[in-house]
């Protein structure tokens, strides 16, 4: 018995010293390490590339300014990128590696909700700040004091679309087609349904499918028979392309709405401009909005990568800069101090709008509705929280 107690206390002592050395090493770190988890390969690799581009741009800016001002020193920033393949299990691996092996002070991403939901408990458990760029699902930050995001949350996008359909488009009947296997799509769809009903409309069809499906004709035929004024497609751009094509082939005439997962240059390539004409989607920002920080970012991004940044790029850029600001304000590379500084962010001037955290990891910010016309995005209105 004595031996066991002795062994146990030895182990405890080791753990305690291990921890304290870890913390003190953190305080006197010679560089700031930040991880990025993004789907560089897989079904939405475009999103991963945008995230990586934006993060590298932000790090480059810090480097050219001589590093981050931490306390009285200027520390260089090292970005470590992990490929989460848009798979929750890969995201979990990326988080384990970034936290345990690379010993990062914070993690940016993952952009998708399903991967963020896999990574968030790991980051929170390891007391490492995580700021997701684009994960709009409610559960990502819920009950986790180290998890933040730069974007608004799903209920808000469902609400924005429902309000826009009911008030601006004066729609009475709405239909929804969504991917039931993905948290993001399901979250938007359910809130849209509830909010549209609250606004006095009728949801005449609420249909689902599974990720990787390519044939939506059965559901779309059902939707057509229900005769909706608007069809809400809160799905990713590659599936939206097929859904719009098949809706046309079935002669389904309605206005189509969607969420920010529509926002990718590939949407046009895969769908074709004529099918997208007159469709709407909610987004984090509109490139034609008159905000100086935004126009400055678009210019820099365009010069470096030769294309217009999508919302993931803009949000990744905001997320990593919130983290940098947190490190500078904390004046230390201690993970707890960084967390407290990030949580106290007020009126951060991001490229996607002003960002504040009020007691939770979800920012208080507005959303825009965009109309696609002539193969281009056109700002169609702002909806405030």
């Amino acid at each position: 018995m004595k031996k066991i107690v002795l062994a146990l206390s030895l182990v405890t002592a080791l753990i305690v010293t291990g921890c304290s050395t870890g913390a003190s090493a953190g305080n006197s770190a010679s560089e700031v390490k930040v991880g990025l988890s993004a789907p560089l390969t897989g079904d939405i690799s475009q999103i991963g590339q945008s995230s990586k581009n934006a993060a590298e741009l932000a790090v480059e800016e810090v480097t050219s300014a001589g590093g981050l001002k931490v306390g009285d020193k200027k520390l260089p920033v090292k970005l470590i990128v992990g490929d989460d393949e848009n798979k929750p299990e890969s995201a979990a691996n990326v988080f384990q590696k970034l936290i345990n092996q690379d010993k990062v002070q914070g993690i940016i991403g993952p952009p998708t909700s399903k991967c963020a939901n896999a990574g968030a408990p790991i980051a929170d458990g390891a007391q490492t700040v995580m700021i997701s760029s684009w994960a709009t699902n409610v559960n990502v930050t819920k009950g986790k004091s180290y998890v933040f995001r730069a974007c608004f949350i799903d209920p808000f996008q469902g609400k924005v679309n429902a309000a826009f359909a009911a008030n601006t488009l004066k729609a009475k009947k709405a239909a929804v087609l969504y991917d039931v296997a993905s948290d993001y799509n399901k979250g938007l769809a359910e809130v849209f349904r509830d909010e549209f009903k609250k606004a006095g409309g009728e949801v005449v069809a609420f249909e689902s499918y599974q990720t990787k499906d390519t044939d939506f004709k059965s559901q779309l035929t059902k939707i057509k028979a229900a005769g909706p004024d608007v069809v809400f497609l809160p799905n990713y751009y590659n599936e939206v392309a097929l859904q719009l094509q098949q809706a046309k082939q079935l002669g389904l005439n309605a206005k189509f709405l969607g969420g920010d997962a529509w926002d990718s240059p590939d949407l046009f390539k895969l769908t074709g401009n004529d099918l997208l004409e007159g469709t709407y989607f909610s987004n984090h920002y509109a490139t034609d909005a008159d905000v100086p920080e935004l126009q400055d970012f678009i210019k820099k991004y365009k010069t470096k990568y030769n294309n217009v940044p999508d919302a993931t790029a803009a949000l990744t850029y905001d997320a990593i800069r919130i983290f940098f600001q947190g490190v500078e304000k904390a004046g230390s590379t201690d993970k707890k101090a960084i967390r407290d500084a990030v949580a106290a962010t007020k009126g951060f001037k991001g490229v996607t709008g002003s960002i504040s955290y009020a007691g939770s990891g979800d920012p208080v910010k507005s959303a825009v509705m965009i109309q696609i016309t002539g193969g281009k995005y056109k700002y169609a209105g702002t909806v405030n929280p």
Binding site: D43, K212, T214, K217, S218, T221, K222, L270
Partner: protein, 292 residues
């Protein structure tokens, strides 16, 4: 009524595609007793062959289709030569694992060389909608159904009436006696892989036209479903692939049409399990009688 006709058309389109891919599984199984898990990826390769032929050589539909069928046949034969032939006498399990390996190789090789992003399949046909008693039908839909049925009839003819077809059935029947009859097993196997892969390429191009977003992983889900269709109809039987493909297409479409679509896959696969419980060798399969 028009709603029903529309769903019927939707089911015919989906069923034709499943049937066309199921043929490849069933042929290889019938001849070699091997489940070629790489077949779904040959289907994907066929779609990519079609994509590059149409985009780079700017050929129209028929030459694109023929050239892609030829390239896929070469790919199928090459896979057999490199990966399956050396293992022909090895335990069945080694072959199945090799087939899975080839499948993963094709997916990841394609992703590594071409990238994982989706590509827009070129418009090889100007899609037009026609009204049909309240339902709409497209020329593409008709093309898919007709091409699938014609190819299936053609394959039936080849297997039943031609020399190579007879040889295939002979291999299926008894491999040992085959050599005594002066038939080369290698030739028969090559022909089987060639024809099966060419059919997969046809399906790849038809799918590319019907669902014009293609990526290196497009063969996985469709491949599994076509494999299930082949088993459902009775694997090893050409008519079985046809029956299984159409049944799976109908069940999927009508499960979503008549019930909440959330339950679609659950219901579709529950039906398949019930069918297999009642008829373990598939709908058209005859029970194997073992002589003592």
């Amino acid at each position: 009524m028009s709603y029903f006709i529309q769903q019927l058309l939707n089911a015919l389109q989906l069923g034709s595609i499943y049937a066309l891919i199921a043929l490849g599984y069933t042929m290889v199984y019938g001849v070699l007793g091997l489940i070629n898990f790489a077949h779904g990826d040959i289907f994907m390769a066929g779609a990519f062959f079609g994509f590059f032929i149409a985009v780079m050589l700017k050929l129209s539909l028929v030459p694109t289709l023929l050239l892609a069928m030829f390239l896929a046949a070469v790919l199928g034969i090459a896979i057999e030569r490199v990966a399956y032939r050396p293992l022909r006498k090895a335990p069945r399990m080694s072959l199945i694992i090799t087939a899975l390996g080839v499948s993963l190789f094709l997916e990841n090789f394609t992703r590594a060389t071409l990238g994982g992003q989706q590509r827009s399949f070129p418009k090889l046909l100007n899609v037009q909608e026609f009204a049909l008693g309240g339902a709409t039908v497209t020329n593409l839909q008709i093309l898919i159904i007709v091409v699938s049925l014609v190819l299936m009839l053609l394959l039936r003819y080849v297997v039943q009436k031609t020399m190579i077809g007879k040889a295939m059935r002979a291999v299926s029947d008894n491999k040992e006696v085959l050599a005594l009859m002066g038939i080369s097993l290698d030739t028969v196997v090559m022909a089987t892989f060639g024809i099966g892969s060419a059919l997969a390429a046809t399906a790849g191009i038809l799918v590319g036209m019907a669902y014009p977003v293609i990526d290196p992983y497009m063969g996985i889900a469709v491949g599994w479903k076509a494999f299930i269709a082949a088993v459902l109809g009775g694997i090893g039987l050409i008519d079985g692939a046809l029956v299984g493909g159409f049944i799976l297409g109908f069940v999927e479409i009508f499960a979503a049409a008549l019930l909440p679509s959330t339950y679609r896959d659950g219901i579709a696969f529950a039906i398949l399990i019930i069918v297999l419980l009642l008829k373990p060798t598939g709908l058209l399969g005859r029970p194997v009688v073992k002589k003592v």
